[in-house]
């Protein structure tokens, strides 16, 4: 099938298959999946500028499907999501400004690529350590396990070896404070939420994609949001950041919306499947399954840097 906007010929079956795979990842982990979709589109012959913009557009549609599914499962904290929108947009714009600044200097690909690799490997390493600690503690004692409210699915029981980090964040005394009943948080500084949203948006604007790979762990470990709700709320944020990015890139001529629409037909069913699968896994298992994803993204980026074709 020929796509006239980007001027490329790509099989729609291939696009659907790529969409389906990243759709499952998106629904299950609350990530955009750009670290996989980007190289897949680039490998199919799509120019790099279209890869970034088109991937963002398809992420918007996929995240809507997955977020609506998560909402029916009670996995979205709308109050938290709406507050985070402010920080996310500010972060996306700041990240884009950093890119513009780096464009004026040499080695932008190397700078962005190395930042990407270090951050992804760091996230993966921390989550591996946390999972091992949590497993050891849960074997010895189940006292610290968060009990789900009556009627909640047993798989939503969540506990973490680094819950003390979130408790420290909850104790930050900078007003105003808010409560997040859906996430089981009685009191938290608004600034802590905005800071996490800003950081997520910053990485989205700086590295591309929805930045779910950093926002989801931040929600769990820094704000103490239960993993299932972190996945759903992260998808809600990705709709905002990717939607903003889509318009921005479309204005610059970097979006082939026909490719995005075809990819999204595969992603829609994958996202439904991934979101449904979260019902059958506890928060700790979801976090453990998440660990290889950042490493895979880092490897793809390293390959791109070494071969002279950055994956982002």
């Amino acid at each position: 099938m020929t796509f006239p906007i980007a001027g490329v010929h790509i099989s729609p079956i291939y696009l659907m298959a790529v969409g389906f795979v990243v759709g499952i990842l998106g629904g299950f982990f609350g990530v955009g999946g750009s670290f996989l979709a980007g190289p897949a589109l680039f490998g199919a012959g799509l120019p790099m500028n279209f890869v970034v913009g088109t991937d963002l557009a398809h992420i918007v549609g996929k995240s809507i499907v997955a977020a609506r599914k998560h909402r029916t499962l009670g996995n979205i904290d709308l109050k938290l999501g709406l507050i985070m929108v402010v920080g996310t947009i500010a972060g996306v714009e700041s990240g884009a400004q950093i890119i513009q600044w780096l464009k004026r200097t040499a080695h932008i690909d190397l700078a962005v690529g190395l930042a990407f690799v270090i951050i992804l490997v760091g996230i993966s390493g921390f989550m591996t350590w946390e999972s091992i600690q949590t497993l050891r503690r849960s074997r010895g004692s189940r006292k610290n396990m968060r009990q789900p409210p009556p009627g909640e699915h047993p798989s939503k029981r969540d506990h973490s070896a680094v819950a003390h980090i979130a408790r420290a964040v909850h104790r930050i005394s900078i007003p105003p404070y808010i409560s997040l009943p859906v996430s089981g948080i009685n009191r938290i500084s608004l600034w802590a939420i905005l800071l996490v949203a800003f950081v997520g948006g910053l990485f989205s604007g700086f590295l591309g994609g929805g930045a779910g790979y950093i926002r989801m762990p931040c929600l769990v470990y820094l704000l103490g949001i239960p993993t299932h709700i972190a996945v759903g709320t992260d998808l809600f944020e990705i709709i905002i950041s990717a939607g903003y990015g889509t318009v921005s890139h479309a204005l610059k001529g970097n979006v082939d919306i026909l490719i995005a629409l075809v990819m999204h037909t595969g992603a829609a069913i994958g996202a439904q499947m991934g979101a449904t699968l979260t019902q059958y896994f506890g928060g700790q298992r979801i976090r453990m399954a998440f660990i290889p994803l950042p490493v895979l993204g880092a490897l793809l980026m390293l390959h791109g840097l070494l071969s002279g074709h950055p994956a982002k």
Partner: protein
């Protein structure tokens, strides 16, 4: 395999077949007619193109979410899918 997981997998497989047929029709009808118009917008009016792009992907997002939900409820009405 647990019965609920088995039911979900079966429902998704049936959904996938029905969905594939619908998507094939979608390619030939909708994208065929939209292609030239979108290409023209891309070349001549980038602001409208950006707005239409966002509207199309959001619209398709809601449309396919409703479609997949309806398919699931039709294929497997007693499942845990809302």
């Amino acid at each position: 395999m647990k019965p609920d997981v088995e039911n979900s997998v079966r429902a998704f497989l049936i959904e996938f077949v029905v969905y594939a047929a619908l998507v094939a029709g979608y390619y030939f009808l909708v994208l065929h007619f939209l292609g030239d118009w979108l290409w023209s917008l891309f070349k001549n009016d980038r602001h409208t193109y950006a707005a239409v792009s966002l509207a199309l992907i959001i619209g398709q997002g809601f449309l396919l979410e409703i479609l997949t939900r309806l398919l699931l409820s039709w294929i497997h009405p007693r499942s845990d899918h809302p």
